[in-house]
């Protein structure tokens, strides 16, 4: 089908770059660009006359090579280099920059998520339990521990906290009727029973030693171990780690800011009590202040080239590990969604319940 032509037309600007950066953007980007060129992340051929474009090309290529395309199949968010921790309007930015004598001497690597990826994990845990009773807890531990390294994860623990807060002042009748009670009831025995006993080393060992019969479970374990390997040696660089030395005034800003938006929502099944708690919380996210980014790592520009290169290398190591880990996690989530959809189809066929397969997509907040 061919639609009607739109009545609004955009003037075609020939010979002019698509984006212009003010003089404030070019200085810091140029300092970072020199470091990226020395480190081989940017190439001379990336130069188009603008430092911001130069950095963007090198950074874009680095992200693609580290698995950004695979990661994007599941995770909805962005990884960017910015000169501010939080979003500013053009007017606010101009006001701040106009009052500053020198260009900023600091940039940040920032990761944020626009939507929480839906991970209905219940059916997968049942498959794992059929292989070994400890496998569900081990798998859950390794998966969430690695996701936590690059995002806020919303799971049954968050839902429990939310539910407890709301149940405090409820009467017995209200408690009986509310969804919050179900958060505790719906926790699978395989998690309730074993999750506290499983350490990271033990969980990894269990996954490594497992010899599952099901090919889906084999793949699941393979990609989970791959993810764990990528994240090894890295911790979650959330804004709370920043000090006043890193960013003056960070303490006040963190006090006023809200928690990060979750990058994923782990439910037992779609529409369960965890999902209900998440929906309630998501409605009010960002109402009382800006949400903190999920990841924020400062890059101090005013140091010797050698020290700057070392710092940039560390930051890009983190970014690369994060993207590779998210790419492996995306494969894990795709298998989890397939197992969930398969469970729904089977359930519908056997019980004639009008269960619809999940969208296997992302859940908008």
């Amino acid at each position: 089908m061919i639609g009607l032509p739109v009545t609004v037309s955009i003037p075609q600007l020939k010979g002019i770059r698509w984006r212009y950066c003010s003089r404030w953007d070019e200085g810091p980007a140029a300092t970072l660009g020199m470091s990226l060129l020395r480190l081989g992340i940017c190439r001379a051929s990336d130069w188009s006359g603008g430092a911001v474009d130069f950095v963007e090309r090198g950074f874009g290529r680095f992200c693609r090579q580290s698995g950004a395309v695979e990661a994007k199949k599941v995770w909805v968010g962005d990884l960017r280099i910015a000169d501010y921790l939080f979003d500013l309007t053009e007017q606010e930015r101009n006001q701040i920059e106009a009052g500053r004598e020198d260009a900023t001497q600091q940039l940040f690597l920032i990761a944020d998520y626009e939507a929480a990826a839906s991970i209905p994990i219940g059916a997968t845990l049942a498959h794992l339990e059929a292989e070994d009773e400890l496998l569900p807890a081990a798998f859950y531990h390794i998966l969430t521990a690695n996701l936590y390294k690059c995002m806020r994860v919303y799971d049954y623990l968050d839902a429990q906290e939310h539910a407890e807060m709301w149940m405090e002042d409820m009467s017995d009748e209200e408690l009986e009727a509310c969804v919050y009670r179900k958060v505790e009831i719906e926790i699978p025995e395989s998690i309730r029973e074993h999750s506290k006993k499983v350490t990271h080393a033990k969980a990894r060992g269990l996954l490594e030693q497992a010899r599952p019969r099901s090919s889906a479970v084999r793949q699941l374990i393979r990609y989970t171990l791959e993810m764990d390997g990528c994240g090894k040696g890295h911790a979650h660089a959330w804004p709370g780690h920043l000090t006043e030395k890193d960013v003056p005034g960070i303490g006040d800003w963190l006090m006023d800011a809200e928690s990060s938006r979750p990058g994923c929502l782990i439910t037992w099944y779609e529409g369960d009590a965890i999902n209900a708690c998440f929906d309630e919380e998501a409605q009010h996210m960002g109402e009382n202040g800006a949400c903190q980014p999920n990841v924020a790592i400062p890059i101090r520009l005013n140091q010797s080239p050698k020290k700057l290169d070392q710092q940039v290398m560390r930051v890009f190591d983190y970014a690369g590990a994060m993207l590779r880990s998210l790419a492996s996690a995306a494969k894990v989530v795709e298998i989890i969604r397939e197992l969930y959809d398969e469970h729904l189809r089977k359930h519908r066929f056997e019980s004639r319940l009008p269960a619809e397969p999940g969208p296997a997509g992302v859940r908008d907040e």
């Binding site: 739109v6 009545t7 609004v8 037309s9 955009i10 003037p11 075609q12 600007l13 020939k14 002019i16 212009y20 003010s22 003089r23 070019e26 200085g27 980007a29 140029a30 300092t31 660009g33 020199m34 060129l37 001379a44 051929s45 130069w47 430092a51 130069f54 053009e90 101009n94 106009a98 260009a103």
Partner: protein, 83 residues
Amino acid sequence: MKQRNCRGRSAETMRVMGELAEAAGNRAKVTDPILEKLRQCPEAFKVGEILGKAFDSLKYRQEDVIDGDRLLPPPSTIIPPFA
């Protein structure tokens, strides 16, 4: 031949490094006329904002438009914001 290519790449890298160093030191000459005008008159960003709002209002009122009517200039037309 190979050596000359290596030298060529290195010279190119040095040239880009020099350009970046100039930009980092804010010594780069602003030769772009649009950038220069924006530098002299930051308020001109307002023109972009106003145009953006005008585009949005037209975009959401398309059902009112009579077929064939063109509300904005045709492609390739530049609206000079500094006229």
